[in-house]
Symmetry: C2
Subunit: 227 residues, 2 copies
């Protein structure tokens, strides 16, 4: 269970040293959300180091005092932000996971998933931002990167692998590898097109990408090729 730690209530108590709490996201103050939203934009634009706390405060429309009353320091603000995004991402992903209904044909399920992923990632910029920040700062925050893998990537891959394993059509395929191929192709596509700004350089229609991917997996599953 992920909790947003390094978060402190704005209660400036007598000692002027407010203590911090590990709060579940529901407990988070409205102001904290405003700060995180502003921080996201600034971190997105400048990266971790170049994003100054002054700019974050300005971006969030909050005084620096308030900023520091909610978050102890820059590093823990960043960690809280990533955890916040991670939770949002998780909710989104688990929201769009088409309940692996064994009735509907697998190609429809897969297409539905792929469509949802590409649509969601294209519409919701913060998901790609999370990916980019995580990769970019993975050396400075290795533990955070592992948390990201554990709470976002692993459940998704496990879910996919479970689905591939459950369908007899794919019994000749390695479920774990198929999950990697499915997710990896889409993630790589998103990285090239949206993060590295390669849309005009290596253009590829998302529908064409999805069609080809679905066809490849379906065809491989139904093949009687010997290993």
């Amino acid at each position: 269970m992920l909790t947003v730690s390094h978060f402190r209530t704005p209660t400036v108590n007598a000692s002027n040293r407010p203590k911090s709490f590990a709060l579940s996201p529901g407990d988070m103050t409205q102001k904290a959300g405003v700060i995180l939203a502003g921080a996201l934009e600034v971190f997105t634009t400048y990266g971790y180091t170049a994003a100054s706390m002054d700019r974050i405060a300005a971006g969030a429309g909050v005084s620096k005092s308030t900023l520091y009353s909610y978050f102890h320091d820059k590093e823990r603000l960043f960690v809280s932000l990533i955890q916040w995004l991670t939770q949002n991402t998780n909710q989104i992903i688990f929201g769009l996971r088409t309940d692996l209904d064994p009735e509907t044909p697998p190609d429809q399920v897969l297409r539905q998933m792929a469509n949802a992923v590409l649509a969601e990632f294209s519409a919701n910029q913060s998901l790609l931002t999370l990916m980019r920040l995580m990769i970019g700062e993975s050396e400075r925050f290795p533990d955070l990167a592992k948390t990201f893998v554990r709470t976002v990537q692993k459940p998704l891959l496990d879910h996919l692998a479970l689905y591939f394993a459950s369908q007899p059509q794919f019994k000749s395929l390695d479920p774990a590898v198929s999950a990697r191929i499915f997710a990896g192709s889409l993630v790589h596509y998103l990285i090239i097109q949206n993060i590295l700004h390669g849309r005009d350089i290596v253009p590829l229609d998302p529908d064409r990408m999805i069609d080809g991917l679905i066809y490849t997996i379906m065809a491989a599953g139904q093949s009687s090729l010997e290993a």
Copy 2:
């Protein structure tokens, strides 16, 4: 043709304003290479902003004066470094591209390629570093990201697509999409395992990954599934 621009000769002329040249990599002084190698390590460890010019100078074993005599400023040093890495990467990739011999069976060719990619990226840390830096700084240096796509990703994808198109075994597959699936699966695998430190969290043997990937593409190619 890629040239290492933003590079200036160490000639500190009278006006103390040495002019810069666009030099082909062969013209690059030995010292410039030393500086770039040191810069790579520091940028890798600290990221762009947190890598100070003092640390870079120290890491390269060079005085700061010399540093600035070869590179106008930090930004152009970084651009030169990326271009330098891009060229190295290109040479490596084009070096390991198994000359698309139509004689050898496709599965062997693909396996050879996948093996070479994974082996090379695991052994040569700087390739992954390049990937990580490019993604992490893609908002600060969008043009650099495009250059990366144009000079590294696009040739690789084109090369793969051409190969898929040339082999009758894959005539039922979309060559461009197959190239994306092939490269994307491997890149995503490398990102998860090596960049995001997910080896222990979502373990997957590289050979198993390659086997599954090759099988999937081969089986899909030989399938007679109707679209």
